[in-house]
């Protein structure tokens, strides 16, 4: 292809955008609406996953030792946990001595703790273990129960079940929403492009009768589709950015007391992923939508 032909077809594509204002508007609006809803689903999913992840990170298993256990055995148990960490099962762990346990507890008791002369939690030294995947908690607990020197293991069944369930629901809803949105957007965009092309079927016929190659006929439509896709994805991205920043301010102001639980992602982290995905989808839909719809009319 000659460079002049490339620029000519590009120019025709751009000119066509302005010539067919209503078609352009309808296509941009359709793509923008679909990608706006997709963006919302994306933002909610990512934030929900982040909140769940944060919550999961707070769930820990507490391992208490046999009374009078030797220091060496506590270290050995520590090595076993370290081994699980190296295999990616354990995210992190920490040793809490009896003194640290009492110090922490006495802070909670406040004045009431002053009556104790000896550490009532003398046998409360423990390992706090945080898992990478809380669904593996039972597996880890049953393994640790078989380890010599461990007296008791505390775990939070309710939290694990609730979070696992919630995580499954969020994933299911997100995936369903995205699948439905894609189906709807492909249907809408295909219809919009079909209407737009059928209006210009005559133009395609004329080009073919004059001796235009398929590429020459198709290129302006494809450029047009890609530009429409680009605009259609840029608009919701800009809107979502401002809405998200405003929403973060609102949540920070009204639900500030939940800041430890509702941990939202910063805009940069969200849009670093959302911008390329949305542009790719928008431009891709524009490209393939026009490419395949024009193809139907090329056999003249």
């Amino acid at each position: 292809m000659k460079i002049s032909t490339f620029f000519y077809t590009l120019k025709q594509g751009i000119a066509s955008i302005f010539r067919n204002k209503w078609f352009t508007l309808a296509s941009v609006a359709t793509i923008a609406a679909c990608l706006f809803v997709f963006g919302i689903a994306y933002i909610l999913t990512l934030n929900a996953a982040n909140i769940l992840h944060n919550a999961e990170e707070r769930v820990s298993i507490t391992v208490f030792f046999d009374e009078g256990i030797e220091e060496k055995r506590i270290q050995d148990i520590g090595f076993l946990i370290e081994d699980m960490k190296s295999r990616g099962i354990v995210a992190r762990y920490e040793f809490v001595s009896a003194e640290q346990a009492w110090e922490s507890f006495s802070k909670e008791l406040g004045e009431n703790a002053q009556g104790f002369t000896e550490n009532p939690l003398a046998d409360s030294a423990n390992y706090q273990i945080y898992l990478n995947d809380i669904s593996r908690q039972d597996e880890v607990v049953s393994y640790l129960e078989s380890v010599e020197g461990i007296r008791k293991i505390n775990k939070s069944d309710l939290t694990v079940d609730a979070l696992s369930g919630l995580s499954t629901i969020v994933t299911f809803i997100s995936v369903s929403m995205i699948v439905i949105l894609f189906a709807v957007s492909i249907f809408l965009i295909s219809n919009t492009v079909t209407i737009g092309i059928s209006v210009r079927k005559e133009e395609i016929n004329i080009m073919k009768y004059i001796g235009a190659t398929d590429f020459f006929v198709r290129a302006p439509f494809v450029f047009e589709g890609m530009i429409i896709g680009f605009i259609g994805s840029a608009i919701p991205l800009a809107a979502l950015f401002y809405i998200y920043v405003a929403a973060l301010d609102f949540i920070g102001g009204v639900f500030g007391f939940l800041s430890g639980i509702v941990v939202t992602l910063p805009p940069a982290q969200i849009f670093m992923g959302l911008v390329p995905i949305s542009l790719l989808i928008g431009v891709g839909i524009g490209f393939f939508g026009s490419f395949f719809t024009v193809r139907k009319h090329l056999h003249v």
């Binding site: 009768y209 004059i210 001796g211 235009a212």
Partner: protein, 246 residues
């Protein structure tokens, strides 16, 4: 003596004095109804030919075969040296660039002006912009539209629109001009003007084939007339006239 070279396999170009050659051509539509039956036809370089017939005679099917819009069911179809029975799909644009085509409904790009419509045909064959700026005004003055090159298509009369279509068909210097009912939508004055233009184009060396059912122009011009009736050529006269159905 004229050199003759013919290579008909794979849709490749053939060379001889024949611009159109149809041998034992049959065309039936999907419903099985035959549209053309055993058509044998030769049109040589520089000829001016009318193809006439009433509705349903098969003349539209014939022109579609010549444009490679349709493929014959059997037989041999050669146009401008291309074997249209075996031409590859990607060669069809190259073949059509050898033709000039004019339709009854003009088929112009209505959202562009006169100049852009004609220049468009040159863009397709990737003529450099500098040459387009030279060629288009030249062809527009030939068809008498030099002063209307900026006019939007919708502001032109039917006759003027057909002149633009003619200019577009001729700007790439085709050796064959196919016109499908070129005067069907025109008043008698415009019809006469267009026919004079076509005659002039033919005198300049372009083979002209016109499909029409306009009795007056066929009878007035005394050119070769091929008459179709119910898919069969019923007459082929060197200086013929319109044969009535009855």
């Amino acid at each position: 003596m004229e050199t003759k070279k013919r290579r008909t396999s794979g849709g490749k170009k053939t060379q001889d004095n024949c611009v159109i050659r149809l041998e034992n051509v049959n065309k039936s539509y999907e419903n099985g109804i035959p549209a053309l039956m055993d058509i044998n036809l030769k049109i040589e370089k520089g000829e001016f030919v009318f193809i006439v017939g009433d509705s349903g005679s098969g003349k539209s099917t014939l022109i579609k075969l010549l444009l490679r819009e349709l493929v014959a069911t059997s037989g041999k179809v050669e146009v401008s040296g291309y074997d249209l029975m075996n031409i590859k799909r990607n060669k069809i644009p190259m073949f059509r660039r050898k033709l000039g085509v004019v339709f009854q409904d003009f088929r112009l790009l209505k959202d562009r002006n006169v100049y852009e419509n004609v220049a468009f045909a040159q863009r397709i064959v990737q003529v450099p912009s500098m040459d387009i700026r030279k060629n288009v005004p030249g062809i527009l003055s030939q068809v008498g539209l030099a002063n209307k090159y900026k006019s939007p298509i919708v502001e032109l009369s039917g006759g003027e629109q057909q002149r633009v279509a003619l200019a577009r068909a001729l700007v790439n210097k085709p050796n064959l001009l196919l016109a499908d009912e070129p005067t069907g939508n025109l008043d008698p004055k415009s019809t006469l003007e267009i026919m004079k233009l076509l005659e002039k184009i033919n005198e300049d060396g372009t083979t002209v084939v016109i499909v029409t059912h306009n009795r007056e122009i066929v009878n007035d011009m005394k050119k070769r007339v091929i008459t179709l009736k119910k898919g069969v050529i019923v007459s082929d006269e060197k200086k013929g006239g319109y044969i009535d159905e009855d």
